[in-house]
């Protein structure tokens, strides 16, 4: 009996501390001050000479999904826009009609999901111009063309240009911005990677599935924080800045069919003030 008791106490003496040890070991502890992280790429700013010609562009965010039968109709409407001043980003809705078909590529992204939740998207297709929440475009989006043209007539507050250089799964982006007018509200700059000519299944309006549907402007990565990186500027007219940011790209992204989208937003309202897209220039490796 005594042996059994000693054995049992030994067993429990191991089990109980073990459960506590397991508890400490299996429970992640986040230190205070580290509850939040910025996992976007850092932008470094330097002053620059004022040399840009102001061009007002329009940022169009469209939420789509492979199981959305009306999305091809919206794609067709938006494909009639050939103005290079229109910067388009297609975001895969995270649930429901945005779910990928089995065996098909998953185009959902963390950044796209955050933006989708912020808008409160509950049906697709849906689109917004310059993150202006006052007008949502649904269905065939026949009314969006006129509003895009209207937005292009606005005089720019800030001139914005960018160039991108790629190679070995890395992209370096140079951002040039210049205040045309005073704008002293805090700004953020967002850098995103968008891929074209992606071929995967898409539900069509007649409820058939087109396995060779070509998807363009698909958001693949938000390189900065999802709500952008702070712009280190005073905001007085004439001020010019140059920002540099570099980021890595997952291997499933075809950089040769991708381009970089950069947009400036008011930090408080998140409205987009100006934007630009640029192709990626591939640097030739020196031997």
């Amino acid at each position: 009996m005594k042996k059994i008791f000693i054995g049992l106490m030994g067993l429990m003496g191991r089990v109980l501390p073990l459960s506590i040890i397991l508890g400490l070991w299996s429970c992640d502890k986040i230190e205070e001050g580290e509850y939040t992280v910025y996992d976007g790429a850092q932008v470094t700013w330097t002053t620059a000479a004022a040399s840009l010609t102001p061009v007002q562009r329009v940022y169009v965010e469209k939420f789509t999904g492979p199981r959305c039968s009306n999305c091809p109709t919206a794609d067709a409407t938006l494909s009639t826009i050939h103005d290079e001043r229109v910067v388009m980003v297609s975001i895969n809705h995270p649930t429901g009609q945005g779910m990928p078909y089995p065996g098909q590529p998953d185009m959902r992204t963390d950044g796209g999901t955050v933006w989708d939740k912020w808008y409160g998207i509950n049906s697709i297709p849906a689109a917004y111009i310059n993150r202006d929440l006052s007008q949502q475009y649904l269905g065939d989006m026949s009314n969006i063309i006129g509003d895009i043209n209207q937005a292009l007539t606005v005089q720019p507050v800030i001139a914005l240009e960018a160039s991108a250089y790629g190679g070995l799964g890395e992209v370096d982006v140079v951002i040039e911005m210049q205040f045309v007018k005073d704008y002293t509200q805090p700004l953020t700059v967002t850098v995103a990677l968008v891929e074209d000519s992606l071929v995967y299944c898409q539900l069509l309006p007649d409820n058939s599935i087109d396995s060779n549907y070509v998807h363009n402007h698909m958001l693949r990565k938000v390189a900065t924080g999802f709500w952008g990186a702070d712009v280190d500027a005073s905001g007085t007219a004439g001020e010019a800045l140059m920002g540099r940011v570099d980021f890595s790209v997952d291997s499933d992204v075809n950089l040769e069919k991708s381009h970089v989208v950069v947009f400036l937003s008011d930090k408080a309202t998140r409205k987009v003030l100006n934007c630009v897209q640029c192709n990626i220039i591939f640097e030739v490796e020196e031997k």
């Binding site: 049992l8 986040i30 999901t113």
Partner: protein, 554 residues
């Protein structure tokens, strides 16, 4: 695929001849339940039309046992779910399956299983068909009993949610030792001691959740969240004390607003019991103990743990009209309960004796200071009491007037804060009186009469969101129930809001019982409200029409 293999294997084991007993030396038992509902619109009580005309929940459980081996499965059907059950239940199929070995020192279950560690505050996988709740774990459950009085449990699995499984992985270990069983000198002792400890951890993949304070930042989420329990069950003579303390690591989730404040809870239950008298005092304090296997899940599904309620689970209609729903983010409360039997021949007992039952409970929120939103510690807890959430006192007297007639009279006073149902509005103060008389007319025949009254300072106003609760106002109710022989019963009841309220809820029910089979058909109006069992609640919407239920077992 696994389900199909399992089903085929089970059917093969059962053989081609299905009968209740004697299969391959084993034993087959089961039960079937079908509940149907038809409802049409009624704007006064808020009932909606049912487009399908007929809704049905049904289930069939089959259990095969053969010595230490058992296997079971459950088929469920929701075509479509009854009103108040989540539409995600829609469908039919195999909802539960398992195989198990249950030996003297070892038990193993593979498949779906239900389990509880201690009082359930760190782990309780359970099912309640009336709440529409089934958080069974699909995985493995191993229990070791190396010697009498010692139990060690280990579980791993994913939680069921409707027809799918949550992405979070749940692991747990629990040990319990009854010292009276393993210590020779305590075998005959009046001291009874059982000690236990458990640990549960859940793992979930990372996801992007923006910080409310700093939107360009995302939360640095703990992927492994653990909860530990220490408990003791002590007894001496007529006294017993059950206590459990649990703590939970940082667990930012949708219920707590994604804050990093750690969780903890304490449960105490002191009981004294002797022939004809019992008394108990229960105390509970909860701070941020909502523990789910999927952090973004709100509602009642995917809870890993269960936080026991310490308010009385009333059964009479008006007493249970405002049930208390446990506030997992924080509450503290007390309950006291006394039962006393006045003996025959005593001053109050008279010729037949008298039963007295007193109960009182009060629940407050925590006194907190908010320090931030998502991505912060969230709040700090002060030592005082928060807002009043719930309170009730009740006095129940039960007495036999003769061999044939027994009555029960209850008075209760309730204070109810709509915030526990996430609704706006002021505190409701309710006085309730219930009289219940049972008359055994002759052998096999009995009549039961019930009369209830509730006076409340609340009122109903369809145009004011703060007063849109259809339970508000003053109510009366009458019920007659007639049991005819051993097979039939009839009942008729009516609840009527006669002042400051709305609605007239009449119901007629007829039932027939034969052996293990029972059929019941009802017609009438169902009041909108919460159905709560043990502090866990389901919203029952108003309905107007026919209901029927068939249950049988074999």
């Amino acid at each position: 695929m696994i389900k199909r293999i399992f089903t085929l294997a089970l059917l093969a084991a059962l053989g081609s001849t299905v009968s209740a007993q004697g299969l391959l030396g084993g034993h087959v038992t089961g039960n079937v339940q079908m509940d149907g509902q038809m409802s049409s619109a009624d704007s006064i009580i808020g009932a909606q039309d049912v487009p399908e005309k007929l809704l049905m929940n049904a289930r069939a459980d089959v259990l095969y046992t053969n010595g230490d081996f058992s296997a079971g499965l459950r088929f469920e059907l929701y075509q479509n779910p009854l009103l108040g059950f989540d539409a995600k239940y829609s469908g039919q199929g195999l909802a539960n399956y398992f195989v198990a070995y249950n030996g003297e020192k070892l038990s193993i279950t593979a498949g779906h299983f239900y389990e509880q560690f201690g009082s359930g505050m760190i782990l309780r996988a359970y099912e309640d068909r009336y709440l529409g709740l089934d958080n069974a774990l699909l995985g493995m459950n191993v229990q070791l009993r190396p010697v009498p009085g010692v139990t060690i449990k280990g579980v791993i699995g994913r939680q069921k949610i409707f027809w799918e499984y949550g992405e979070g992985l749940v692991r747990g270990i629990d040990g319990e030792v009854n010292l009276n069983s393993i210590l020779g000198f305590m075998k005959e002792s009046k001291f009874r001691t059982t000690l236990g400890a458990g640990f549960v951890s859940k793992y979930e993949d990372d996801e992007v959740i923006p910080s409310s304070a700093n939107p360009e930042m995302r939360l640095n989420l703990p992927l492994n969240v653990g909860a530990t329990s220490l408990r003791a069950d002590l007894g001496y003579g007529n006294w017993s004390l059950q206590t459990e303390y649990v703590m939970k690591g940082q667990d930012p989730n949708a219920i707590n607003g994604y804050v990093y404040h750690p969780g903890q809870a304490l449960l105490l239950n002191l009981i004294y019991s002797q022939r004809g008298f019992s008394a108990s005092v229960q105390a509970k304090r909860i701070d941020n103990m909502g523990f789910k296997s999927v952090r973004s899940q709100s509602g009642e599904m995917l809870y890993i743990n269960y936080l026991p309620a310490i308010t009385k689970n009333h059964t009479y209609a008006f007493l249970s009209m405002y049930p208390y729903a446990t506030q997992v983010n924080g509450e503290q409360g007390l309950q006291a309960d006394v039962m006393y039997k006045f003996k025959k021949g005593s001053f109050l007992g008279g010729e037949t004796g008298l039963d007295l039952h007193l109960n009182g409970s009060v629940v407050y929120g925590l006194d907190t200071t908010v320090t931030g939103g998502a991505g912060t510690e969230g709040y700090s807890v002060n030592s005082g009491l928060g807002e009043t959430l719930y309170g009730d006192v009740s006095v129940e007297i039960a007495k036999k007037l003769s061999k044939a007639v027994k009555y029960t009279v209850t008075y209760a006073y309730q204070v109810f804060n709509p915030v526990v149902e996430n609704e706006p509005g002021d505190l409701h103060h309710n006085h309730i009186v219930v009289a219940d008389v049972l008359w055994k007319v002759n052998k096999g025949h009995s009549l039961r009469f019930e009369a209830e009254w509730m006076g409340s300072d609340s009122h109903y106003d369809a145009n004011d969101p703060a007063h849109s609760d259809r339970r508000a106002g003053d109510w009366i109710m009458g019920l007659v129930e007639w049991n005819i022989g051993t097979h039939w019963f009839l009942s008729a009841s009516d609840q009527y809001a006669y002042n400051d309220g709305i609605g007239n809820y009449y119901n007629f029910t007829v039932g027939y019982t034969s052996g293990a089979t029972r059929l019941q058909v009802g017609y009438g109006k169902q009041r909108e409200g919460l159905l709560c069992i043990g502090g866990v609640c389901r919203l029952v919407p108003a309905s107007n029409g026919l209901t029927f239920s068939l249950t049988t077992s074999f």
